[in-house]
């Protein structure tokens, strides 16, 4: 992923997590910071950062950092 650094930055910023706490193994609902409410903040962060509009099924399926990379491919973010 070319945009990985930006992707990570948006994660850390949207979920307001300590960069040290960040891991590529992060999963939705695994840490208190990534709950259903911050999930929507993260989604809008990605939409703004990458200038895309995601569909609602992708919002649901965006269940981990890794899964997110796959989903973003659909929106031509590599």
């Amino acid at each position: 992923m070319k945009n990985k650094e930006k992707y990570i930055d948006i994660f850390v910023e949207s979920l307001a997590i300590d960069k040290k706490k960040f891991s590529e193994k992060l999963k939705y609902n695994d840490i208190p910071e990534w709950d259903s409410i911050n999930h929507m903040t993260l989604m809008s962060g990605l939409e703004e950062g990458f200038n895309i509009t995601m569909e609602s099924d992708d919002i649901i399926d965006f269940s981990s950092f890794k899964k997110g990379i796959q989903i973003l491919k659909k929106y031509k973010i590599n």
Binding site: Y28, N29, P32, D35, S36, I37, M40, S44, E47, T53, M54, E55, S56, D57, I59, I60, S63
Partner: protein, 355 residues
């Protein structure tokens, strides 16, 4: 749960009635045994009914929990440390609330199923959403009441959320007009509780302070009960025609659901019926709690495939409903069509969504 995985990626209204009947018989029997093994309280309840769990009991013979029991007892089928969120119903005069304990899997499935169902109402695109409420600034993330749970659930369909009220519960015309001017050429959602639709859209909102009185590109979704509306002597068709008269809002969809049963959410179709999705089903019972005759009104029993963390897969509500057989209605796809005719007369007065 294996049976849920079988259908979770299909369209939410894909199961033909015969297949669904068999599928529900298997799944609801399975869930009954599942909870029997995991919840002592539920086990005692079934024993009290002399009920023996089997794989192939008739769907209509499987016991239901009366919804008010969730107010007096903590029914739970998981370990305490697995509780991810507690959903609370709104308070009533008795100040008792239902407590529903869900784990991560149940929380995820609920969102997933809501998306699968709502997809049939609006499609896959997310839209700007106007909420007929104020923003909840002190949200307890572990305990959701009905209203917070609904707003948070529906937020997945929004790409931007604006609240119509400020923190003093006054209509914020400035914010509202900004929202309306940004979205004058595109479809947007309005989401709120039925009483707030009446109270704010119909009564309090002053059209002369708005940049437009034509909200025909709005898609209004509302739910939460008609109890307070009955006091105002306004029914569904009056509400809809008043909204059309005042704001040209034509796309109005009421929804029906209970905090006590995750997975059971029903949106009105264009014909005005609620339709049960693949994930839930409805049975109507008479005053002796026997299955009602076709077309008769009675008490609504709801079944859902989702609840695994608490025994809420078969509950008896206090609502009066009627299953409708209308072969002309092709909305969404398969699924029983039904109407809700309000609350059982002598049922405990039950506040809905704190309104």
């Amino acid at each position: 749960m294996q049976f849920l995985n079988k259908i979770i990626n299909q369209n939410a209204f894909s199961l033909d009635p015969r297949y669904k009947a068999k599928f529900f018989q298997e799944s609801i029997n399975f869930l009954t045994s599942h909870h029997f093994k995991r919840s002592n309280l539920y086990k005692d309840y079934l024993k009290g009914l002399n009920y023996v769990t089997k794989k192939n009991n008739n769907l209509s013979d499987i016991p239901f929990l009366p919804v008010r029991l969730f107010k007096d007892f903590d029914f739970i089928s998981i370990k305490k440390k697995e509780i991810f969120k507690t959903l609370l119903s709104s308070g009533t005069s008795t100040n008792k609330v239902s407590k529903i304990f869900i784990d991560k899997t149940n929380a995820f499935n609920q969102m997933k199923v809501l998306q699968k169902i709502f997809y049939n109402v609006i499609g896959n695109s997310r839209l700007p959403m106007l909420v007929l409420d104020k923003q909840n600034q002190n949200l307890d993330r572990k305990k959701f009441n009905a209203s917070a749970a609904a707003i948070s659930g529906f937020s997945i369909f929004a790409n931007k959320i604006e609240y119509i009220l400020n923190q003093k519960n006054e209509i914020d015309y400035k914010k509202l007009n900004t929202f309306l001017s940004e979205n004058k050429d595109n479809q947007f959602l309005i989401f709120g509780f039925t009483y707030n639709v009446y109270n704010y859209l119909l009564k309090k909102l002053d059209p002369s302070k708005l940049i437009t009185k034509n909200l025909s590109n709005a898609f209004l979704i509302h739910g939460g009960g008609w109890k307070k509306m009955e006091q105002k002597k306004i029914n569904r068709s009056q509400l809809n025609s008043e909204l059309e008269k005042k704001f040209v809002i034509k796309n109005i969809r009421n929804y029906y659901g209970l905090v006590e049963q995750i997975g059971s959410i029903f949106f009105e179709c264009k014909c005005g019926y609620f339709i049960a999705s693949n994930f839930s089903d409805i049975i109507i019972r008479d005053e002796n709690l026997e299955i009602s005759k076709k077309g008769e009104k009675g008490l609504v029993q709801l079944l859902s495939l989702l609840p695994t963390s608490y025994p809420g897969h078969s509950i008896l509500t206090e609502d009066i409903g009627e299953i409708v057989h209308d072969s002309k209605c092709k909305c969404y796809g398969h699924g029983k069509r039904f109407l809700i005719h309000g609350r059982l007369q002598n049922a405990e007065l039950r506040g809905c969504s704190n309104i």
